[in-house]
Chain length 325, copies 2
Amino acid sequence: MGFTIGMDIGGTNIVCGLVDSEGKLLNKIKRPTEAGLGSGFVFDKISGMVNELLATAGITHSDVSAIGVGTPGFIDPEKGITLFASNLKWTQVPTAEEIRRRTGIPTYIDNDVRMYVYGEAVAGAARGYDHVLGITIGTGLAAAVVNQGQLYYGSGYMAGELGHIPFPEIPYDCGCGLHGCLETVVSATGIARQAKDQLAAGRDSVMREWMDADPGSSLTAADVSKAYDAEDPLAVEIMNYTGRLLGKGLAAAVTLYSPDMIVIGGGAALAGERLFAPMREQLQNSVYSGYWERLTIAQAQMIDDAGIVGSAMAAGQRLKQANTV
Amino acid sequence: MGFTIGMDIGGTNIVCGLVDSEGKLLNKIKRPTEAGLGSGFVFDKISGMVNELLATAGITHSDVSAIGVGTPGFIDPEKGITLFASNLKWTQVPTAEEIRRRTGIPTYIDNDVRMYVYGEAVAGAARGYDHVLGITIGTGLAAAVVNQGQLYYGSGYMAGELGHIPFPEIPYDCGCGLHGCLETVVSATGIARQAKDQLAAGRDSVMREWMDADPGSSLTAADVSKAYDAEDPLAVEIMNYTGRLLGKGLAAAVTLYSPDMIVIGGGAALAGERLFAPMREQLQNSVYSGYWERLTIAQAQMIDDAGIVGSAMAAGQRLKQANTV
């Protein structure tokens, strides 16, 4: 009793962890998703992972009150359906019911970014704050809001798509059909893309030497960080531009949501101050001082585990709500 | 029983109305605020207005379950304090307690824009929608969100300041300390200001003839609408520019809040399609199609009364919540 299981089903891996009632991750396992073998195969694998997790901890299914699952894409958390997840190639998959049926444990699903931010809000860097705006800068840029413990969903559970606000100064088309979306610049992909574009346009950079030395390789956001640390002018320019644009996007989000905490996670957040220093400067100059004064900005604490802990805690919360209605 | 009173304390007038449990406004009265005579004077006047309202309806204080009050400025709805209202010149005024003490009726206060939007959400144009974004275009530009019947507040009750998102193409300083805030253009003041600036810069317009014919007068947003209807190129340009900027601001709000309804009120909303046509075109081009498809946009239905009805209904709701805790 008191245990919950949190799970993150990604395009590459499934991570599954046992969490206690305080939000402490006790044990986790990771397996390749192999989504190409079909959703039934994936759910059978998940059932096996749950068995393994319980066996390792020496507990049984009846000790676990709920399973929480974060998946990418569009989710209907109330119906428990993955509406569309492009990197799993799932459309209208009844994820919650499939897992509940195999494990006998009440299962809740939600979007993976919301679960990540929820994890940071209840048990990570944003713990103790009432109005949390969380963003993840990874392949894309996404956001979620946890307001006095409650996730903000909006119509169609589609709120918080910070990465899809268009900016006139951004020259890139976005996969969503718009032009100039913030995430075409502010993401790991966007940072790497800027570097590649500038090198292709003939800009001088230490990154060119690295590419020439290893012709088969592809530039990453981490390379741009490395070049930044070598005081490469192009890398500094890219980080400043990216950070300032993130600051402009956050200015809109802060003015509309009025958070007291912004927590920043995702792979590209590892760029840290290279990105955050210009972001903070721009944000401070772009919001009414009353917002800035009440704001704390922090890097995510749980990095890899926020989604697991968030899914588990959110599932526990939803089970409690279901039982009190 | 079942009656509530809604009140709007503005810089010029106090309006006070009796509302039934269905949100129907039964009767209302209006008096000059005379804020210069001090808050004590204003509260005594309010107490007298309540007596008058009840006498007219033939009911007593005990028939009224709650009073709801909307005031401009920064409000602490939980403590019932008007923190700062510039056009009343009130700082840290315990508005709720002052009215409760004089009337014996539980009193709740909130920001006037939130109450306006709440009124439209529960009993006006947005009735029946789950995720309502309401904006008022008046002296300034403000917004509020009602999500499944619940107002969204954010830290410091400061969420929704759509008018204070800065845009690089806006040349005006804002009273809030920033440069280029949306409301310096998208407001009655902003529309009139653009016309005056262009006339001062020598632009030709039918509005110049009107001003020359009546030298003591000052241009208003209504004049710009009138000139628009006379196909004045300057007026058309101003409305298009203002509408497009409103569309850009709403694009950020829609992407972050994901509403299924936008309801638009306030004096400058009377410009109607002159403003809304370019706004809609810009908004549709600036948001992911999934947002646009689920969106209805409507003009406020209750115009003058939304704030009264909203305050009354919100007070009834808060009393109910207080009694169930």
